[in-house]
C-alpha cells in the first residue's frame, strides 16, 4: 500500500481525472473532498461490507413455497389493517 503524508488543503491526483483533497482533520476524523468523473462510483467500504453480509444471510434461508404462502398471507392482513 502506498502511504503518503498530506497537509490540510493539499491534494492528491489519482490517474488523470481523480482529485483527492484533505479538507480538514478533527480528532480522529479526516474530511476528504473527492473530485472524480461521474462514472466513478464512490461508497464507504463498510456499507459494501454490510450489503455483502446481508446477501449472505439472505441466501442462507431457502424460501419454500409454504413459507411464501405465509408471507403473502401476512402481507394481506397488514394491508387490511391499514
Amino acid at each position: 500500500m502506498l502511504v503518503l503524508r498530506r497537509k490540510v488543503g493539499e491534494t492528491l491526483l489519482i490517474g488523470d481525472d481523480i482529485e483527492l483533497v484533505v479538507l480538514g482533520v478533527e480528532g480522529d476524523r479526516v474530511k476528504l473532498g473527492i473530485q472524480a468523473p461521474k462514472e466513478i462510483e464512490i461508497i464507504r467500504k463498510e456499507l459494501l461490507d454490510e450489503v455483502t453480509e446481508e446477501n449472505k444471510r439472505a441466501s442462507a434461508v431457502v424460501p419454500s413455497k409454504e413459507l411464501l404462502k405465509q408471507l403473502k398471507e401476512l402481507r394481506r392482513s397488514e394491508d387490511e389493517g391499514k
Partner: protein, 149 residues
Amino acid sequence: MRQSAVDISDLDLSEDEAMIFPAGLPGLSDYTRYALLSDEETWPFYHLQSLENAQLCFLTVDPFAFFPDYDFELSEAVVKQLQLTSMDDVWVRNIVVVADDFKQSTVNLQAPLIMNHRTRIGRQVILNDPSLAIKEPLFPRVSTESGNR
C-alpha cells in the same frame, strides 16, 4: 441438508430469459446468471435463482407493493452500465432476509436489484442514501406488535 426452493433443471429458460449480473452480487461475485421467477401465486414475491448454483436462491420482493413511497435516484454510471433508456426498462426487486420468526423478516431497501428487462442486465446498486435501511421490517405492524393484542 439444504433443499433448493426451485429445481433448476426443471426451469425451461431460453438463454435470453436469463438475467445477467456482470459483477455478480456483493459477496457472491462468482455467480452472474440468474432467473427471476414469479407466478401469480407468489406475487409480490419473486425467487432470484442462480442458474449456476442450484443451492443459491434469494427471496425478493417488488418493493412498491410494500412501500409505495419508495423512491431513489440512479447515478449516471448505473444508467449507462445497465443501458437504461427509459423508466419502462427497469425492474426493481429487493432482497428479503427471512427471519426465524418470519414476521420479523426484513428487506434491503438500501441496495435494490436494478434490472433492465430489455437488455437482461442487472446489478445490485448500493444507493448510499442514509434515509434507506438495509434491514427494513417487511411487516412493521406485526413485528412491532410482537403478538400482544
